[in-house]
Amino acid sequence: MENKSPIIEIKGLYKSFGKDKDVLKGVNIHVKKGENLVILGKSGSGKSITIKCLVRLVEADRGEIKVFGTDLSKLDNDELNVIRLRIGFLFQNGALYDSMTVRENLGFPLQRHRAEFTESQVNLAIEETLESVGLSEAIDKMPSELSGGMRKRVGLARTLILKPEILLYDEPTTGLDTITSREISELIISIQKKYKTTSIIITHDMACAKFTSNRIVILRDGLVYTEGTYETLEKSEDEWVRSFFI
């Protein structure tokens, strides 16, 4: 695992909103295949922006982003979509489509990108994926009927259904109770084992970080402040870094 070439390479990433609002000022991050990278940082430090740049939801001002060895900035829309399909993105609150049931939410990407599937194949894939996040009973519910934890699981199932190679989690445990948070963290690990994915996890939840991370990156003032394993950073001499682990 350690010797493999990086599957995600971010070099000198700059992003600003307006003149005085420089959010990212040259971020460098590498993620190897099969790795679980946790990104820490204060609220508004640009963590979400960083992973949105990975799927070009946000266009970087400067810098190089390579995913699967391809430079994203040089791709046209169709080529980009091919890359996007290999990446799963779990949004903060699941981002379920309000007007659709859970089944339709999961079926929607399938129907687009697996047009060759028969109806029974579609149903099988939906049921299977829902089972892997432990929500088989919610299949015909509307998103508004689901709790926060369930929404996140359904959101995760929706990204998993296309069998992505990279998973990006934006605060997967925020707003959940400790027990549910723990369940989600376990889910992340079990999925990583089952689907053999590489993950980037943004979180403020240190229990989750401890449970899921192979490596941690801490952002500060638009730059990577420090990086290391959970254990090394916990014992860091820097007081600011240690303040995360209290």
């Binding site: 939801l57 949004f91 489509y97 990407p109």
Partner: protein
């Protein structure tokens, strides 16, 4: 002050680009047919009761209000034709469009705004589904086609309302009423008004989508999107109406 003016023009520019993008995406296959049909249902069929009630009341009120003046000249027999004419040319299109600005445009604004805020649009984009095609093109198209249809209903029901209003004070059977209406109507009254409604529909859809689709993150922006959708759509309706009248005057 200068910044405000600049921002206004910036907004207009963004809106124009949005329209360009609509036409670009419109002719790029495939069309999201299922979503389009669903939006036709939501925008058209679901607005019908509201439009029908307003149409009926407009016809009734217009008849009752115009009656005394016409009766003074002994020209009561002109009442059905006059009411039908004002309904078809002006009142039904504008009132229906305004109702739809309130219902459809703000609905689209709020829906897309909340989708934007809860990152549903981003989620679509990330799963390689073009949200502009799926959400915007279908809604604008549905609105462009359904509003004229709603106006047709408003015309018909409004004329019926006029019939009821006429019969409050004097008696006339529906056949004679109809012939009085149709004697007055010409194609000049119908076609420009109908063409106008397509523009109403287009801008109702476009402004709603624009406001929702470009909403900034944060929950309060959903309300803002819905609100500005109504305001700007209503304004657009009056501007289009003015231009249409001038154009019709010029041509006919």
């Amino acid at each position: 002050m200068v910044i405000e003016i600049k921002n206004t023009f910036d907004g207009i520019g963004e809106f124009v680009l949005f329209i360009f993008r609509f036409f670009k995406e419109l002719f790029k296959p495939p069309l999201e047919l299922r979503e389009f049909v669903k939006q036709c249902y939501v925008i058209g069929y679901k607005s019908l009761p509201l439009v029908a009630i307003t149409g009926f009341i407009m016809g009734l009120v217009l008849t009752l209000q115009s009656r005394p003046t016409l009766a003074e000249f002994g020209a009561e027999s002109w009442l059905p034709g006059m009411v039908a004419l004002s309904l078809i040319r002006e009142i039904a299109p504008v009132i229906t469009a305004l109702i739809c600005a309130g219902k459809v445009s703000s609905g689209i604004g709020a829906e897309l705004g909340s989708m934007k805020v809860t990152e549903q649009i981003d989620a679509m984009e990330v799963s390689a589904i073009n949200p502009f095609k799926y959400l915007v093109v279908t809604r604008i198209l549905a609105s462009t086609l359904m509003i004229p249809l709603l106006v047709v209903f408003a015309d018909g029901i409004g004329i019926l309302g006029g019939f009821v209003g006429y019969n409050i004070h004097s008696e006339l059977n529906i056949v004679r009423y109809n012939s009085l209406v149709f004697e007055t109507l010409g194609f000049v009254d119908i076609f420009p008004a109908t063409i106008k409604t397509f523009f109403f529909g287009f801008f109702i859809g476009t402004i709603g989508c624009f406001m929702g689709f470009t909403a900034s993150n944060g929950t309060e922006s959903v309300g803002k999107a819905a609100n500005s959708a109504v305001v700007y759509a209503s304004l657009a309706i009056f501007i289009i109406d003015m231009l249409a009248v001038q154009l019709t005057d010029l041509i006919f």
